[in-house]
């Protein structure tokens, strides 16, 4: 059920003013045709009060029943029917009230068709305006519902994307801790702490929350420390951040999955040492983050590079910025013979 247009004060005033104009107009016309003021006023009051009731009745009906498609013919019939009822009622009441005035009944009789036309027109107008009003209201509600649904879906999707922490990572880390407990208990304790801090970081952050690059780097460092314990000397990282970009903002938990993807790609596609490089700087109004990893063009299919990790980042960036050009990748053969090929992932985060 929607609110009637009369529930809004401004519309109520306009409606009443229009009605008063109608009443006055009616009086003037009757007077012009020779009726004394008093008779004209009584006639106008009775006719227009009845018309007002008919209008309100139509509006109330449309509140609950809005025509669709071919049902407009019903509305037309209802208007016609209401106008006829109105005319009969008005005629009856006017006769009762004013029949004793000389010449009135003749005038009434002659003006019936004009009264009918004008009333039908007015009632029709009110009906059309009401239909437009209610339709627009319904449309607005529909839009709101749609936006709400989309927002919910978006939040759920973002949540899901964020939750896709690799179980592999967790179980392998626990396995490493298990190994350390026997041989190097101090290191095991340290790794438990790092793993806990890392997991807490994934849980407590809101997906839509923005953090500074510095905060995200601290979180990333926890992850890198754990991975370095797992993979030992095979994994080295190099982080080059432009001083001016430490305070730039990015969506929480965006950086780590990108680096994770690079590490996996690098570690599983080469057998030697893997160097992961991270660069960040500000270009125009964007925070630009570049991550590189080595790969072997012989064994890696292009699909693997943009594996699930990057797909979900791409999706997140789209949900947050409605842009698909923020994540780019390219694979460059190294210039030097015998050196590794480098896969580069570049993410741009628009600022403000």
């Amino acid at each position: 059920m929607s609110n009637s247009p009369l529930s809004i004060k401004r519309f109520k005033i306009i409606f009443i003013l229009c009605w008063l104009v109608m009443v006055a107009d009616h009086v003037m016309v009757l007077h012009f045709f020779g009726l004394p003021w008093q008779t004209a006023i009584i006639d106008s009051a009775i006719s227009n009060s009845l018309l007002l009731l008919a209008c309100i009745l139509v509006m109330q009906t449309l509140r609950y029943y809005l025509p669709r498609g071919t049902q407009y013919i019903n509305i037309f019939s209802i208007c016609l029917f209401l106008t006829i009822i109105w005319l009969l009622l008005a005629k009856l009441l006017l006769k009762l009230a004013l029949d004793h005035f000389p010449g009135y009944s003749e005038l009434l009789h002659q003006s019936l068709s004009i009264r009918f036309s004008i009333s039908f027109l007015l009632l029709g107008c009110v009906t059309m305006i009401s239909i437009l009003w209610f339709n627009q209201l319904e449309q607005k509600e529909f839009e709101e519902r749609k936006t709400d649904a989309e927002k919910l879906a978006k939040e759920a999707e973002l949540f899901k994307l964020r939750q896709q922490l690799q179980p592999h990572f967790l179980f392998n880390s626990l396995n490493s801790i298990n190994a350390l407990i026997g041989s190097r208990p101090e290191e095991a304790r340290k790794m438990v702490q790092q793993l806990s801090d890392f997991l807490r970081g994934t849980i407590k952050k809101e997906e839509t929350q923005w953090v500074t690059l510095q905060e995200e780097l601290q979180y990333l460092q926890l992850y890198l420390d754990i991975e370095k314990v797992r993979f030992g000397n095979r994994l080295t990282t190099e982080i080059n951040i432009d001083e001016t970009s430490f305070d730039l903002k990015l969506p929480a938990l965006l950086l780590q999955p990108i680096v994770e993807n690079a590490i996996k790609f690098g570690l599983y596609d080469t057998t030697g040492e893997t160097l992961i490089q991270l660069y960040a700087n500000k270009v125009e109004n964007d925070l630009v983050i570049k991550v590189t990893n080595p790969f072997d063009p012989e064994t890696s299919s292009p699909k693997q590079g943009a594996g699930f990790g990057l797909k979900s980042i791409q999706r997140r960036l789209y949900l947050l910025f409605a842009r698909t050009d923020l994540l780019t990748t390219n694979s460059l053969p190294s210039e030097k013979e015998g050196k590794e090929n480098i896969f580069t992932t570049v993410v741009k985060i628009p600022q403000g």
């Binding site: 179980p167 392998n172 626990l174 314990v229 057998t271």
Partner: protein, 246 residues
């Protein structure tokens, strides 16, 4: 004394296996390997009785490494989490240890192996491989041995497969490679939308087909981009039409 090889890309993961093995003085560790390539060499060199094998490793997976061996040894998988793998080898593996695992669980796996060692283990490992390679993660590439080298063929590079006695010839733009598998194996594991058994002895990559011509009275022949003609039987023609949406 039984010979053991540990293959895992994480040093700490190897060290925990080593630690648990200290309780089993009858098992001797011959070598520890970082990846499938090293593992392959070590297995050929030492002929171990049992290997501990991780699945996700650099370059080739544990499964792919096993596929390259003519006589794979007994295998106990040590893996973090892989639901496909678990499903696949539940029925056939000597055992699998889910990381992190404890000494007790480890000892059980060893005991199970010793029990089975009395029986033939080779068949068990073969069965295991057959079912493991049917996991979805396995069907986007084929690993073959090319002389002493290991070649990874992405499936989209495969033009067609041809039966050749006990082997299957995998034809690519670089020539063909042999794999000790059956046609039925490839028919079951490769993506059915892309690879169609066009003939008793042929499986063709539909993305490589440029046209299909009639050939003799009831048969057809598929012309590939490379110009090669692949025989299509009557039932094969029906399957091709279905996949190509004709």
């Amino acid at each position: 004394m039984s010979k053991i090889i540990i293959i895992d890309d994480e040093p700490l993961a190897r060290s925990i296996t080593k630690e648990y093995l200290q309780k089993h003085p009858d098992l001797e560790i011959m070598q520890e390997c970082n990846d499938g390539f090293e593992g392959l060499k070590a297995i050929q060199e030492h002929r171990p009785d049992l290997i501990f094998l991780d699945i996700q490793m650099p370059k080739i997976t544990g499964f792919e490494m096993l596929e390259l061996l003519d006589q794979p040894p007994s295998v106990i998988f040590t893996t973090a989490f892989d639901e496909y793998a678990i499903k696949a080898f539940e029925a056939h593996a000597i055992d699998y240890l889910l990381k992190p695992f404890n000494q007790e669980r480890f000892d059980k796996a060893i005991a199970k192996w010793k029990e089975q060692k009395v029986n033939s283990t080779e068949k068990a490992t073969q069965d295991l491989l057959e079912s493991a390679s049917q996991s979805p993660s396995q069907n986007h590439r084929i690993v073959v041995k090319n002389g002493s080298k290991i070649k990874i063929i992405p499936v989209h590079d495969v033009q067609y497969l041809e039966a050749a006695d006990d082997y299957v010839k995998i034809h690519t733009s670089e020539g063909y490679f042999l794999k000790n598998k059956t046609m039925a194996h490839f028919e079951n594991t490769l993506d059915k939308e892309q690879f169609v058994r066009s003939h008793r002895s042929y499986i063709v990559n539909v993305q490589q087909i440029t046209r299909i011509d009639p050939y003799e009275k009831d048969n057809h022949v598929a012309i590939l981009r490379s110009g090669v003609k692949v025989p299509v039987s009557r039932s094969g023609y029906g399957k091709l039409k279905e996949v190509l949406g004709l």
